[in-house]
């Protein structure tokens, strides 16, 4: 009666997963000799299980598929300060009519235990049950794949705290539906949600498997609402090179970084009660009119962003990390247009406020016109959603970029703190 539900842990022997990861690494190492480009994608590093926040990611921005991001005992949920992985699946859910607080409790506990399994590269249960009439617990498509730094971040939408579950008294102080913001063309099918899952991994199949199985195990309690598959992270962690969005510009050069920034702008403090160590997640699905953008002359593109396209330097500097000089004037007025994207978003023009951006590019194929349907899955974390609201109000009104983008999806979620061993995400709600 062996169930053979999980592959053996990486540390205990040559599992298929380890061989695969090792093989990929070896292939990459081999390729490095001939083509330096490959070295940026995969690495020959073999050390397992490194804490992401303490990982010294090299400037060459390498991927180590064997890496495991710990789930328990981390104060904060993973997937926020974790250096952005290459791929993501973001899915929202609505709670089923007639469910109660106990259903929600079981959902959060089962999700937490399953996420703990998945992030270690394990299945959530049997792939091939021994009883012929049994249905597999795990769908199996990630069996044998490396952990790939999988993180799954769980969020609670405003609906969790309405009168359905008796949790109104536990509502995070600043959690409320986002107000209408200028420029919003939100679609109902891409907006809101009672729960969110942000799965990120360096292997897209690992991220997809996680969300698929987490969705599958809770169908009696919650149903899917909307989903975005992200690729090519559009933000950088420490040591990572600033990636580019689909407009070809570097995105996230002046992101939140360092303990002070995180404490000041991202994490909720002790005064947040049970949410201490948590944060707020804002998600926006932003489509780009890509073909139109691609026809735009380079000088205009650079004026719109306020940066050069190649280096990513502010138009007042020469290197990416030069501090923009928003006061500098040239022949035709300000060197960096006051309505450029970076001028409107800069902390110095927003009372010093920063938000942590951790987005991904996405594509949904072609739209009704036969044009590329793609854009940015914008995800930000902040300890006060008003920071996002204020910034986006400015951008929505004045940003030169608005000609090329549309905010079509939106959601806000409270992100509870990370659970200690033996607990689960949101356990404080049911205390």
């Amino acid at each position: 009666m062996t169930q053979n539900r999980t592959p053996p842990p990486a540390a205990s022997g040559p599992s298929r997963r380890r061989l695969l990861a090792g093989g990929a690494a070896a292939a990459a190492a081999g390729a490095t000799v001939g083509a330096g480009v490959t070295a940026g994608l995969l690495t020959g590093a073999t050390q397992p299980a490194t804490t992401p926040t303490s990982a010294s990611t090299s400037a060459t921005d390498e991927v180590d598929l064997t890496r495991i991001v710990p789930f328990y005992d981390q104060t904060h949920q993973a997937g926020i300060r974790t250096p952005p992985q290459r791929h993501s699946v973001f899915m929202t859910f609505n709670l089923n009519a007639g469910t109660d607080a106990q259903d929600l409790q079981v959902l959060l506990a089962r999700w937490s235990a399953a996420i703990a399994q998945l992030t270690q590269g394990k299945t959530i249960g049997t792939v091939e049950p021994s009883r012929p009439d049994a249905v597999g617990t795990d769908t199996g498509e990630a069996y044998g794949l490396a952990p790939a730094s999988l993180t799954v971040t769980v969020g609670l939408g405003p609906g969790v705290f309405d009168d359905r579950y008796g949790l109104a008294a536990k509502r995070p102080a600043l959690l409320a539906d986002l107000p209408r913001i200028p420029g919003d063309v939100l679609q109902a099918g891409l907006t809101g949600g009672d729960l969110s899952l942000q799965a990120c991994a360096d292997d897209p199949q690992v991220a997809y498997h996680a969300v698929r199985n987490l969705a599958r195990m809770v169908t009696t309690t919650a149903h899917t609402h909307w989903v975005v598959l992200g690729f090519g992270r559009a933000s950088a962690g420490p040591g990572q090179e600033t990636p580019r969005n689909l407009m070809g510009f570097k995105d996230g050069t002046r992101n939140v970084a360092g303990d002070d920034d995180y404490d000041r702008f991202v994490w909720l403090g002790e005064d947040a009660g049970w949410m201490a160590g948590g944060t707020y997640q804002v998600v926006r699905k932003i489509t780009m009119t890509i073909e139109t953008w691609d026809f735009d002359r380079i000088s205009d593109q650079q004026r719109i962003f306020g940066r050069t396209k190649d280096e990513g330097a502010p138009l007042t500097g020469t290197a990416e990390f030069d501090t923009p000089d928003f006061a500098a004037r040239g022949d035709g007025g300000y060197v960096i247009d006051q309505a450029s994207h970076i001028a409107l978003a800069a902390p110095e023009n927003n009372a010093g406020v920063k938000i942590l951006r951790r987005g991904y590019n996405f594509t949904d194929g072609l739209n009704d016109q036969g044009l590329l349907d793609a854009g940015l899955l914008f995800i930000s974390y902040q300890n006060d959603p008003q920071h996002f609201i204020d910034l986006q109000n400015r951008l929505g009104r004045f940003d030169l970029l608005n000609e090329y983008i549309r905010h079509v999806g939106s959601g806000i979620f409270a992100i509870p703190p990370g659970p200690p061993t033996g607990s689960y995400i949101g356990q404080a709600l049911f205390a």
Binding site: G98, A113, I124, G125, D133, A134, V135, Y424
Partner: protein, 414 residues
């Protein structure tokens, strides 16, 4: 039909009792109750008439399943399971020779302890913790328990399967009558009357569809659709086999709704349909069902709903898909109802959950009633599908989730 409703009503009464028991079972149980009479020789102490065994799941350095006692006196034994820190173990069962006697699912770290009670006779059992290392432990019961008044779970399930067979035959016979009526209406040349007869005949087939799926008549090869009864009766444009040609319900449907007229071909389709359904009745009388067939059949009917009815594929011309939808669900409900008395003994929580989800599907479907439409539901046009299919689909998905677990339980019941 009426005899069936009696049985279902009986099952519902049992259900109320079970719900109360389940509610008690999920309440945390104190491990060292003062009333406990100490068990001899390390045997589990008896409190409130049941031996108490505490099972603890831990995950530090390997997922382990630890019972505070591995022996108990014969009689009721309550297993109280607490998951302290194991992320791999989500289910604990008590088995006898691989048959499930009782179990608890949905275990996760941080949740309150949950319990299940089984009445055990003297002998050796297996405590099975899926995902633990080791997964199985021997559990020994000493002495002899009073005989169970209600019969074994397996007996209940097998009785249910037998009764279900009788019900299926009844449905097939009613279908034969309804199809004869359809043939009469078609022969009369009255399109409206024929449409009404069509809509009345369809549900009988949809209720028992999973039992006759893929049935091949004697003398035909398995890859010859000309001998496939299910195909001949229910073929659709989307799965048409040109070699055999179109016949059956949906050929009639096409003539009545798309063409709006009855031709000599239509009359032939209706006559063939009547003949084939007559054959089907004889086939159905020979069928024998095991309990897991009922569970798998119910699951298959829900699959039909999800992939054939909600999509509007089944009734492409009449758009009476929701009529079929309701019949598929009814067929699944009947199969499930015959398993209920046995399933209640194995996993009352699971049984309750299925009942709840059937209720949710009914409620979602009730929203789409339209008395003036043929079949009694909104015509399942593209516009209506766009508006309502998501809600229906998700309600059915929520029913499929617990339903998928039943076959395994009843197949292994003792």
């Amino acid at each position: 039909m009426s005899r069936k409703f009696t049985t279902v009503a009986g099952a519902s009464t049992a259900l109320v009792l079970t719900a109360a028991l389940a509610a008690c079972a999920t309440t945390p149980v104190a491990s060292n109750s003062p009333a406990a009479s100490s068990g001899a020789d390390g045997s589990a102490p008896v409190t409130g008439g049941a031996a108490q065994v505490k099972v603890t799941l831990t995950g530090d350095g390997g997922d382990a399943c630890t019972a505070d006692h591995l022996t108990a006196p014969a009689g009721p034994v309550t297993f109280t399971v607490e998951n302290v820190s194991s992320t791999a173990i989500t289910e604990v069962e008590l088995q006898s020779e691989l048959k499930i006697l009782g179990e608890k699912e949905n275990l996760a770290p941080g949740l309150p302890a949950a319990s299940f009670t089984v009445t055990l006779d003297g002998g050796t059992y297996t405590l099975y913790c899926l995902g633990a290392e080791p997964e199985t432990q021997t559990f020994t019961v000493t002495g002899q328990a009073a005989a169970s008044p209600t019969g074994s779970t397996a007996t209940l399930l097998n009785e249910g399967a037998k009764e279900y067979q009788t019900w299926v035959v009844g449905q097939a016979e009613d279908m034969a009558t309804a199809v004869t009526n359809l043939k009469t209406a078609v022969d009369s040349g009255d399109v409206d009357e024929a449409k009404a007869a069509y809509v009345q005949a369809r549900p009988f087939y949809e209720k028992i569809e999973s039992d006759v799926e893929g049935f091949v008549m004697e003398g035909f090869k398995v890859d010859d659709n000309a001998g496939n009864l299910d195909y001949l009766i229910d073929m659709r444009a989307s799965n048409l086999d040109e070699k055999v040609g179109w016949s059956g319900f949906h050929a009639v449907e096409r003539d009545l709704w798309k063409n709006g007229e009855i031709t000599s071909d239509t009359k032939k389709y209706a006559a063939d349909l009547s003949t084939n359904v007559g054959t089907l009745v004889e086939v159905v009388k020979t069928l024998e069902f095991k309990p897991e067939d009922l569970a798998n059949g119910a699951a298959a009917l829900l699959e039909e709903v999800q992939s054939g009815k909600i999509t509007g594929e089944e009734e492409a011309y009449s758009h009476t898909d929701l009529n079929d939808f309701a019949a598929n669900v009814e067929g699944a409900r009947q199969a499930f109802a015959y398993l209920q008395p046995g399933l209640e003994k194995i996993d009352a929580d699971l049984m309750n959950q299925v009942v709840t989800e059937f209720g949710n599907v009914d409620a979602a479907l009730a929203e789409l009633r339209d008395k003036s439409a043929p079949g009694g539901y909104l015509p399942w046009t593209s516009a209506n599908r766009g508006k309502h299919s998501k809600t229906l689909s998700q309600a059915v998905l929520a029913l499929q989730q617990p339903m998928q677990k039943i076959a395994e339980k009843v197949a292994t019941a003792k």
